[in-house]
Amino acid sequence: MMITAGIDVGNKNTRALILKDREVISRSLVLSDFDHKKAALYSYELALSKAHMNKEDVNFIMATGAGQEEVTFANGRITEVGSAARGAVFLFSSTRTVIDVGAEESRAIKIDEKGKVLDFAINEKCAAGTGSFVESMSRALEITLEEMGALSLKGEKSVPMNAQCAVFAESEVVSLIHARIPVENIAKSIHEAMASRISSMVRRIGIQKEVLLIGGTAYNKGFIAAMEEDLELKLIVPADYPEFISAFGAALVAADKAGGK
């Protein structure tokens, strides 16, 4: 029996996942907050207790994510790009392009059939192409992200958004509300604006089918629809836990390192 763990410390959330012979036996998600060290340890302990395991039972721990350096108890580290690619190809073997949209970063990764990274592009500078964009827009609309996703599917006509910047777009959304544009149409436009930004990043590395969408934003139905329309293809979207793919990939690499086949 081989037990391995993957810890993914993101800017917003930290995730831990425990594998037993490459099968998921538990996961945990906590807020990263200020102290990433604490968040990493806490999520790890939480996942262990869910799996009824002790630290001694674990053969190898891999850390990934923006705060991977803070996982002091890890045995190894892997970039977010590497862990996402590994997890993606293991779960969906036909994947050649991975789009990972997190809270404060988005990535497009081109991989081969073995999950080897061929090329990638990252946006970590501008909120307009990340999950925080839709989050702040939903705040401006005073509805939840889930509601906004569902509403946007009912939108019939989108309005062009002029603002590129997430901060300015918030003001623009407020003026759209004042102009009495139906909220469904505003929601649709918001997702389209975000999708167009992420698509152009994906196009930079070249799109190859199949295309997999992961990260917390993969829960957002409105965003998925907008991306599919923009890229003119059907995306693969994990049925559950799309935000755990990187932690899963890290735990798989941990299993490789631990030597079990």
Binding site: N11, F34, H36, E70, E104, E124, K125, C126, A127, A128, S132, F133, S136, Q164, C165, A166, V167, F168, S171, V174
Partner: protein
Amino acid sequence: MPEAREFWRWKEYNWKTPDFDWKDATLITAGVDVGSVSSQAVIMCDGKLYAFSNMRTGSDSPNSALNAMKWALEGTGMTLTDIHCKVGTGYGRINVPFSDRAITEIACHARGANYMFGPTLRTIMDMGGQDCKAIRCDENGKVVSFLMNDKCAAGTGRGMEAFAELLGVSIEEVGELSLQVEEEPPPVSNTCVVFAKTEAAGLLRSGWSREKVLAAYCSAMAHRVASLLNRIGMKEDFAITGGIAKNVGVVSRLEKELGVKALKTNYDMQIAGALGASIFAKDLAEKAIRNK
């Protein structure tokens, strides 16, 4: 973090001149500048500054305009109907319910800065809550050209508020504190305002002191607007307006980078837009009288 204090929140205030009584004036005009973060109202009597207010803009522009106006009027005995002409400006200018005219903030800023700093002023850097404008003007405060950063809010007042909040430093003290570093750190990478908190937290985690983090943000901000000024072509005299003009950490670094000193004034640098609007209101009122 049990501290309930809100470090980003700057004090709102109003002011009234002790020098003269509005009842002696023949022409009373007002300007209201509804910005993205703050709103100001200015009242002038026969072209002289009489009273003003400076408040945070709420989510409702018409209300913010009215509140700023009410607060400027407070304690004066004057009411809205005593004012002969009112001009609205700023990002929310079309939502100033009581205004006779809306004029762009670029024109108002130049006009107001000309009044505050005098006719030798040629270049103005307005550093506000959400955007930055470099304005070139002539000796009458007429706009010659301008450049505006309206694509991206990185390095604006909003980001400074986020930094102040996370570091637990009151926004008024940021500038002074940022100067208390032995060595100037490299400017922070200037990522999106939305990520300002994450960025500051990352720097603190890597062992930077609060002062060093603030110094890096102030210098990033100065660097950003310096490039805007270089593009428009710097011509002296030079002045800075807007909320950031009160931040000595940004101002001194910008002066150093440009090799130019900014003019000083006893006027409140945040009221330039509203002041300009009320001067335009005076022009409008005088024109109306002449045409009668």
